[in-house]
Symmetry: C2
Subunit: 220 residues, 2 copies
């Protein structure tokens, strides 16, 4: 069955919200990310349920069905592959690619996206460290932790971010926090849980708990 631009957006956003929780997704949460009003979301959820892409009982929130998740994963795959293309081949910065990829993700051509995948050498992650589903919709298992969960004096490598708003990414860039950086948590401030981190063996930088929560790492 064909999917409209709007339907694809809703499925993608429900998928994104499901990534970070096991609970059903609320109407308001969807409204916020789609930049629409709750009433519009209710309408759309009924339509998506009708088509068998979500399970939705009114007032109970929403979850993707298996079929809905398959569609969402194909959108996510396209979005993330295009982001790799924009950074690696077009020379954009990691904070510039989201909006463009939001458009490119709706281009309909299985053939194109598979050729693009090959052209990019089958990347496992996008420029923010998010995993890219393969042709079959399988996500690579990355097993990243949040920097905010790391103990003092442990070394790790920055592998990704859990949020890709431009302002957040620009902040990281200003702090010299980029993918692949070697980090050691020097000190955790008990007052506000802010931390000081050394980056690639150089002088420590101070990071709020909020920022640390959104940095994904693997142990060195």
């Amino acid at each position: 069955m064909a999917t409209s631009f709007a339907e694809e957006n809703y499925l993608k956003i429900i998928y994104r919200l499901s990534e970070s929780t096991l609970e059903d997704i609320s109407t308001n949460a969807v409204a916020e990310l789609t930049q629409t009003k709750a009433a519009s979301v209710t309408d759309m959820l009924r339509k998506l349920a009708e088509k068998g892409w979500v399970n939705y009982q009114k007032y109970q929130g929403v979850r993707l069905t298996e079929e809905g998740e398959k569609i969402a994963l194909s959108i996510v795959r396209k979005h993330r592959l295009w982001e790799v293309f924009l950074v690696e081949k077009m020379g954009f910065n990691w904070d510039e690619v989201h909006e463009i990829a939001e458009q490119l993700e709706h281009i309909e051509s299985e053939a194109l996206i598979n050729k693009l995948d090959e052209f990019l050498d089958f990347p496992k992650t996008d420029p923010h460290g998010d995993p890219i589903p393969n042709k079959e919709g399988i996500l690579p298992e990355l097993g990243y932790m949040h920097l905010s969960d790391l103990k003092e004096n442990k070394a790790c490598v920055l592998m990704g971010v859990a949020k890709d708003s431009a302002v957040f990414l620009q902040l990281l860039t200003r702090l010299h926090l980029s993918l692949g950086a070697k980090l050691i948590v020097k000190e955790i401030n008990p007052f506000d849980r802010s931390i000081s981190v050394s980056i690639n063996e150089s002088g420590p930088v101070f990071i709020s708990h909020e920022v640390a929560k959104n940095i994904l790492i693997k142990m060195a």
Copy 2:
């Protein structure tokens, strides 16, 4: 002013039709290419005129204004650059790229299209030999002729096609008529104006007048 997907399509199609005639473009001609009905076209032409992108008097047909042509040229530029990308970088054949480029041409990012242009080495023509407008909307002057206008025993080089339907392109491929081929018109059949042509010094191939009309050449 922002342009919708539908508006961009109409402007592009009016531009295409204007390329091959000096007369005003009829409602029906537009309807055929947009795959809509004449009544829908009338509606849209009123809206486009409202926005200052076309000159339209009812029953008199339509022409692009300067501003409308500027928008159309930017869509055409995107369409043709994406086609080059699809053939050169993604490995598609010249008869496979039109539909995908119809989608890609609506991606909104001046920065992206200029980077793409650079990435492709500022091509002058698309995979069908159609000229690509530059950043300023200027079309390179190619000065091609139609193969159907060539005299007998004159040599020329195949530079483009005036029609990019998949069936036509597949026919040319089967006849070994591809961009850059050296052609000599051996014989013009006065009965139906079909011609026999030698291709790259090898045995002649027979071509209808209809086909010859849609092949663009430059003198050798």
